[in-house]
């Protein structure tokens, strides 16, 4: 692999000035889409992603309905202006794949058996893309599902880690993704301590794999706190003290 420039400088800082264990700035706004039953807008570094949840609602076409549980349908889509060169709005191979892994990473958290014969639709629109948009999308979708009042075992938080300049770093951005050596997106349910998404693009030695996974899970835990805070802020304002107990 030929590398034109160093992605980590002599001080250990990455190209955007972060340390190896630092997350990009994450900001989540709950309830951004009024028409939806639940929604969230996430800014994850340069990513700007809108997630909207509809449902539980009637399934159309009816034959898709399941007698014992709810159908979860996900759509991940990048708008044409989300990248620097225009992106064809038709669903690409990559988008279809991300829609699928997103559904599979959210499904374990939802109590789908509570809503038999119904459907929950999750729409994720990437308005501006950076590296790690699937992680940001899953994070936003999970908050939107909670906002829609769907019963969940836990929120799903997602974050990537990867290898850049032979070092394992947290939260890969676009350049590090393209020029780095490995990218590992992970979705995680912190309370249940379960991984719901694990992908790896690149090569890692077994010990590097372990380190990378551990780092990504650490990142997920940080994201989880931001998710909870965003939901609290939306529903209960700044008064988180009431979380403690009022008698």
């Amino acid at each position: 692999m030929t590398q034109i420039r160093n992605l980590i400088d002599e001080n250990g800082k990455r190209i955007d000035g972060r340390g190896a264990d630092e997350l990009r700035t994450v900001k989540i706004t709950v309830g951004a889409v009024k028409n939806a039953d639940g929604s969230a807008f996430i800014e994850f570094g340069k990513n700007k992603i809108l997630a909207a949840v509809y449902g539980p609602r009637e399934v159309h076409p009816k034959h898709m309905a399941l007698p014992d549980r709810c159908v979860l349908r996900c759509r991940y889509h990048m708008v044409p202006f989300s990248t620097d060169t225009r992106k064809n709005p038709a669903p690409s191979r990559r988008e279809i794949e991300i829609s699928k892994v997103m559904r599979e990473s959210l499904e374990p958290a939802l109590m789908l058996q509570d809503y038999p014969r119904a459907a929950i639709d999750v729409f994720v629109e990437v308005l501006q893309s950076d590296g790690g948009s699937r992680c940001a999308g899953i994070t936003a979708a999970s908050v939107a599902l909670a906002d829609a009042g769907i019963s969940m075992h836990d929120l799903v938080a997602s974050c990537a880690a990867g290898k850049v300049d032979n070092r394992i770093v947290l939260d890969i951005n676009d350049e590090e993704d393209k020029e780095g050596q490995a990218d590992m997106p992970v979705a995680y349910m912190p309370r249940l301590e379960q991984v719901t998404l694990l992908q790896l693009d690149g090569r890692l030695a077994p010990e590097q794999f372990d380190e990378c996974l551990e780092k990504a899970i650490g990142g997920c835990k940080m994201v989880y706190e931001i998710q909870k805070q965003a939901l609290m802020q939306r529903y209960f304002g700044n008064e988180t003290e009431l979380r403690e107990e009022v008698q």
Binding site: D37, M111, A119, D147, H153, Y235, N238, L242, E244, V246
Partner: protein, 262 residues
Amino acid sequence: MHEVKRRYVVPGDKIAEGNFRPLMNVIKSGNALIATRIGIAETGRDGVKVIPLSGVYIPRVNDLVIGKIIDHSSLSWEVDINSCFSAHLPAQDVFGRDFSPARDDMTKHFAIGDMITARIIAFDRTRDPMLTVQDRDLGKIPRGELLRISATRVPRLIGKRGSMIQTIEQATETRVLIGQNGIVVVTGRSPEGVNLAVRAIVMVEEEAHTSNLTQRIKGLLNVPDTQPPQERGPLIAGATKPAEIESTIDEVEEELEVEGEK
């Protein structure tokens, strides 16, 4: 040891640990009780529950709902009850046991597009909910202004022992019919009164989670206040005043009787 403890929760939050019974929107995981929805968690004598603050309407037996006739077969009407399940009103419920599809004209009773008040008599999630109109004040709604609010806001709109809705009705000289599914019908003599009531209901829905709401509704409706006017609080102002929160929560949790009469 028997006082009720309350706190705000989001899905995945641990509410309590120990030998409690999980009630509404709570699951037991090992020894811990976990919230599954956003809302207000209550730990009481009989168990732990979460009063949800968001979500669509899921039918329950005995709920009084307002629905719209969307279709009919030869044996039943199909009713849209603002849920992911459409309800069925069997023709026998209206015509009696000796109903005959050949003899009786179903459109005479309810036509497509009619609004009805009905009670859910059966629903077990494996089949669509079944309705009845055989009770006092159930049946066709002849006129009124229709509104749709979130089903989670219905208890707040009714208020403690119907206080909120009574305030609105008296001040605007209207009748407000509330379905548990979040459909509200306002009727009244004067259009001004109806408009005012609609504005008040919309305000209740938008600001349901704030305290001092009754005061502000009274302000909107120009009802003389018996209590000294209080400042308009910030969102969840109640958190700074525990006594008020308590009343807010009480109103939310009130096991409500949705009044058809009045």
